[in-house]
Subunit: 158 residues, 2 copies
DNA sequence: CGGTTTGTTCGGTATTGACCGAATGAACCG
DNA sequence: CGGTTCATTCGGTCAATACCGAACAAACCG
């Protein structure tokens, strides 16, 4: 298996572990390393050796969830897919909202525990709440810090 | 549906979205709010209205992945399950290793892109790498900060 | 308009996984 | 040892989902 193929397959599995389907993972993995960066449906079916229908469905899915975008070019009838610029930053923001979700569950849980609950019981919920409210609070600043550093790095290059 | 039941079901769905099975999510959700905090298999089957075999399998799964632990009590033959103390902190460390995984994929990807790749292509991989190496680097300190704050909060209570 | 190129949808199959009840096993007690 | 109380494992069923090829639809070109 070519290193590119290996990369694509591994990425597919990795995606599957994040609860996204494997085909979508393969498409995304391929889009990360292919040349040119924009690929038509036919390019993708060719590269991934899957039915066009399958690729179409998954590519559109990736578009809908904002991981990939579809672009058109003048004079060419085919659609082109590419990874959405800024996607990775958006992914981190997604992780942040996960934190908020956990925090809410912790709060709901604390409302529900019985008054005669054992102290260790309450402790678990408190730890949960503590962790996620801390990170909901601190994460945005960290993200901003990354943005600054990243912009600087880009400027240094040019 | 009782609020407890609702909590348990919601938690099951939430867990499912994190790619863990729903039964395991229900068990975990129930363990967060039940009294007493330690529950036998029979307690669990009773609370969740599922077959003992199912609960057994999922409870053991939660034990294996370290989310729950099994404890025994003198003079009682049943096993007791409870949420593993310190679990939430451990969960965050797990998120950290996710970061490392993504970072590695970014590095593998950069080795694979063709030399004549378009600049936007390289930019995506660079952004990916930048995000995840930043967080691999910064996250541990944040975690330590949380630990300090949390310990202080515990001391204030006692 | 008829033919071609492109993308989407639809029906079917095969695989996977959740969940169940029944059988099995293992520890304990009389 | 025989019976009881636990937990685990096993075989089967049902539902969900990935993936395919073929049919369809829509845009374009001569």
């Amino acid at each position: 298996m070519e290193p590119q193929e290996k990369f694509v397959e591994d990425f597919g599995l990795f995606f599957e572990a994040q609860n996204l389907n494997r085909t979508a993972g393969r498409i995304f993995g391929w889009l990360l390393i292919c040349t040119p960066a924009e690929q038509t449906l036919d390019d993708l079916t060719d590269a991934l050796q899957m039915a066009k229908s399958t690729v179409s469905t998954s590519a559109r899915f990736l578009d809908e969830v904002g991981m990939v975008e579809r672009v058109s070019k003048p004079g060419i009838r085919k659609d082109f897919y590419r990874i959405r610029p800024g996607f990775w930053e958006q992914a981190l923001k997604g992780a942040m909202s996960q934190f908020a979700g956990f925090k809410q569950f912790a709060e709901r849980g604390m409302d529900l525990v019985a008054d005669d609950a054992a102290p260790e019981q309450v402790r678990v919920l408190k730890e949960m709440h503590s962790v996620y409210s801390f990170f909901s609070r601190e994460f945005p600043a960290l993200l901003e810090q990354w943005e600054r550093e990243h912009r600087e790095a880009l400027n240094d290059e040019s």
